[in-house]
Subunit: 221 residues, 2 copies
DNA sequence: GCATATTTGTCCGTATGTATA
DNA sequence: CTATACATACGGACAAATATG
């Protein structure tokens, strides 16, 4: 396994405290950047040996990542990188429409500076053709929209949701074709939020999310 | 510690598989029913000995419950039963207003039978003066409202939120005085939902949640 | 279909470090 | 400063399920 040998480079980063968390971080990175694509099985023995940690410690890490829905436990068969199906995508976008739209509608008199900041980062990344970063900025922007609700619990839930969504984002073969049209719509939405036209922003956001859902559903089949 | 000796009765239930989960279940019950009131410190040594499991296994259970926000880890000081502060109550009700209201608003053409079922259970419990059950039915009712969104992820998140909220519910010394006035308002809301008057239901629900929040904030100080 | 090897699931005891009383 | 209790990680043991020949 090629991605596994690449893991060896990460061994030295694991020197100090919080072993399980560190291991989880390394694996999370590998999952999100696609080194371990969806449906990959992660062998306890191999990875524990490769990273130089005990099986128990590695299992801790697996549990953390499974809880983020990045990994999936199959009984007596091991852990696998999650592969989202159409039901997952539908549910994720149901939550996004519920939370993001409600958060925008509730944003009367709330500080919206972070929302516009995210847009600036995204446009800059797009100008340099760094479409991976555009995707990251897109997620940041929508997190910022949800954060308008002003609820730490909502923030955490949405962070998890977007981590999960990255599993499909990465399955996209042409990130520019996917992100470019949505960037402009993000800019428009940000403008409406900033101008206090919250109902208009909520409507535009609903449309945006419906279209994005349809696109992703086509990708997932 | 009195509640601890009561634990011994649960030892026999722990015979087979899933030790950590079983232990967690026992402790969860004890926390929710008030045997371990908020701010109680749970000693690893004592409980591990009492239940006849190793410290490591018990720590697994603690982790599960800490993740449900029923327990709280204080570094090198041990685990304690969560005690919600005003910030927690405010945030919880922020989420409830966001999610429940949006779910009700989105319930056009959705099956609402489970909502009315919960109301029937609640009224029946009230007629028999079982106010603890009324509280449980109240939570079920509001879970049913959130479930109108039709999202498994929302359902799970709300289940966790209400488990957390029970920590304060139990701190109430007079459950009848607390639940009785809200029961009628629940009935009214259910009626509006059933009649398809979703905007009216959403408004009544918003008022309900604001009042309940204020009441609980007074209890938590 | 069957026996064996591999892998996971679960739990334990221990060792070491660290913070608190 | 010492004793206690928690935090973390490891390795081992054994059962159970799966994969392999």
């Amino acid at each position: 396994m090629d991605a596994l040998t690449a893991l060896e480079g990460d061994r030295q980063l694991l020197g100090r405290t919080g072993m399980a968390e560190r291991v989880a971080e390394v694996l999370r990175e590998r999952i999100i950047d696609g080194s371990f694509p969806p449906a990959t099985r992660l062998s306890e023995d191999q990875i524990a040996r490769t990273l130089g940690v005990s099986r128990n410690t590695l299992r801790e890490s697996f549990k953390l990542l499974a809880h983020e829905r990045l990994l999936e436990h199959k009984l007596n068969r091991g852990v696998f990188v999650r592969q989202l199906d159409t039901g997952d995508v539908i549910d994720i976008y149901r939550v996004r429409r519920l939370v993001e739209v409600a958060a925008v509608r509730s944003a009367d008199g709330v500080d919206t500076s972070h929302v516009t900041e995210c847009i600036q980062v995204a446009t800059e990344a797009a100008e340099h053709d760094r479409w991976g970063d555009v995707g990251t900025a897109d997620i940041r922007f929508h997190l910022a929209l949800a954060a308008l609700a002003g609820s730490p619990r909502v923030d955490e839930a949405m962070r998890q949701l977007f981590a999960e969504l990255r599993l499909v984002f990465h399955a996209m073969n042409d990130p520019q074709a996917f992100h470019e049209p949505y960037l402009e719509r993000n800019i428009a939405i940000a403008g409406m939020v900033e101008a206090g036209r919250l109902d208009a922003a909520a409507e535009a956001l609903t449309d945006y999310l419906r279209d994005a859902e349809a696109t992703l559903l086509a990708v997932v089949e």
